[in-house]
Amino acid sequence: MSDNTPSPAELDAFRQEVADWFTANKPTDPGFLLPQSFMEVGTDEQFYFLRDWQKKVYEAGYLGMAWPKEYGGGGKPQVLQDIVTREMVKQKTPFMTNTIGLNWAGPLILNMGTEEQKKAFIPGILSADDIWCQGFSEPDHGSDLGNAQLKATRDGKEFVLNGSKIWTSLGRHAKHMILLARTNQNTNNKYEGLSFFLIPMQIQGIEVVPIKKLTGEFGFNQTFFTDARIDESCLIGKEGGGWQVAMATLAFERGAVGGQAGGHAMNSKHVSEVVALARTAKRNGKPAIEDVAIRDELVQLIIDERSQALNSSRARIKPLTQERPSSIPMSGKLIGSEYGRRLNQFALSLQGANAAYYVGDPLAYDGGLWQRSYFNAFSGTIGGGTSEVQHNIIGERVLGLPKS
């Protein structure tokens, strides 16, 4: 990262440049329903559209701006990337589809990878030429990640993979996977038998099978491994040290530490859109926003949305977080995902009888967008450790309560 901190005037000029670029270059309506997050990329036309968009942003110099130049990054201050990311959210551009590469695998490789791994993997992550997926959850071990059972059996200079991973977003398009696997079945502590790999997806013995989601769409996959052989150079971190690497990756995933390439991973719904909906929807012949109970809930949602921004702001002020420094960083995912679910659910109830329409019906509000996004909101409250597991983690690590 550069030591040259831009002046306020330079930042203002850059903000303007970025706003202009995205206004001029953001894609127009492709004529098919776009996914709201990287977890929902279900068709090839969606994927190629999003991949091309990420490539365009990268080639304009607006992605990986703070990553090192020698690996394809911009070598510039993080503050510039943050400006770009905010502008993308503000202009509601499509998200950056190689999320797992940009936000989790990339920072991990830059932090812990070998020089060869950095050179091999980072440029393709940024350009979206090399899509990454994640192999953490297993059908029988979702939230209990430490109990992962997929076997990686050493055979000379190779490992042989057998088992299955689930919820592999982008699995059908991915060139690489970050994989947590069990290299030793006989450790006293379940965590010590785990190792972390960066593996190629297009090899014999790996099969990706799409999963139909509760929305009726695709996007997730189950990945089956049958005697798939990988070289030992795929290891990142030490053999048996996979749990620590996984935890470091999850810290990137939860946004608890910096180092991500930038860009947003999903097009989240905001309360302002629900307020707009409440002005259109009717209750007893009047706009729903005039209803006392609806007003009360809408204001609470506005307060709760602002709480998250204010928590981030306060997290940067040490004297105001010193009693429990990890409290805000560790609770962001729980708060944000539960808020999203509640917001979408409320948007449905505002639609009156029409809440019962679904994607495809001409009378569905916004094409059934809210119905779909309510269901998809569960990916936030379940994925990356369910809200219930998050409660345990916060209770134990932040409040010091005994383990459940």
Binding site: I289, L310, P319, E388, H391, I394, G395, E396
Partner: protein, 376 residues
Amino acid sequence: MLDTNKKPTILFSDEQEQLLEVASNFCRDRFPMSETRKRIAADEDLSRPLWDEMASLGWLGIAVPEEFGGSGLTLGEVVTVVEPMGEHLAGTPLISTTLAAQALLKAGTRAQKETWLPKICEGAIATLALSEPDGDWALERIAASATASGDTLTLKGTKTFVTDAASADLVIASVLFEGKPALVLITRDALAAGKLTREIVIDETRRSYRLDLDGITLPKSALLDADKTPAALNHIDQAACLLLSAEACGGANGVINVTIDYLKTRKQFDRYIGSYQALKHPTVDALLAMEAARSHLYYAATVFGDGIEGEVAVRMAKAQSGSALAFASDRSIQFHGGFGFTYDCDAQLYRRRGIWCEAQFGDATHHRAKLAEILF
């Protein structure tokens, strides 16, 4: 309409940092729970030595301009003192006195400010008399009145929740005068015996009085500036919300710590009760509600007085902090089980404080309704 695209940013000054540290240490030393319990049972309304110490630390004049003997800082700095006091359930006239000083600053005449503000900075106690028996939170709806005859005002009506009134050198009451809201200064010597009646209030750390205004006479010079009174009432409302938010945030943190201590030490069915998710998860929810309230509190402190932005922020803080303390203290009673049902358990002290904080200057529903008027 509020600009919701603007990213809200909390600012925290060096003065705030220093005050927060000093006040946190002070409260830990001077207001352990044993002291709070003694305070509740005490005959006298306050501990004078403690009050004098607070005055000598300069806390009564934090938001008073230097020309009147204060430090010339803002209510944002007062927040950092009130929050730790709330955490320790300290019952002192700090909020009463700060709010009365704010009323003087906003609507007092030059002479009134010059007379009273320096005294307050040095330790004189002052308080506001705004509420009335109908319990309406709308400060501008006033039944009490003042009528003029020559140079004399005669007061009529009843004021409620006049905190710390028996120790106060000065009470500032809202009355209707010539059909409009007015504020009058009532000095201790104008209060005949029997005018103040101790109220029995739910938060026993407080000393609150009912003030019978009937027949009290004052010189006309006791009126604050009539033109500035409506704005002053609005300012007092917001200032009170800010300080009560600080007190409630501190209280929420205090009672969460009480709960956690119990969850870590109490065993049932051979397990620490904190290991049960039925108790652990709501305790985490209490933590998250407190953290959110605290973020709103310090943002409200950052933008206090800044027009609509300031008002929105302080109402959000009041709504969130009230709810956070209500939830945390309600669950704390429940999670203490049978002990929670006893007077000895500290959880009830926080629950009582929570009800007080919500009842004063509006609960969460009230402020959300006010916010809806502004936002929609």
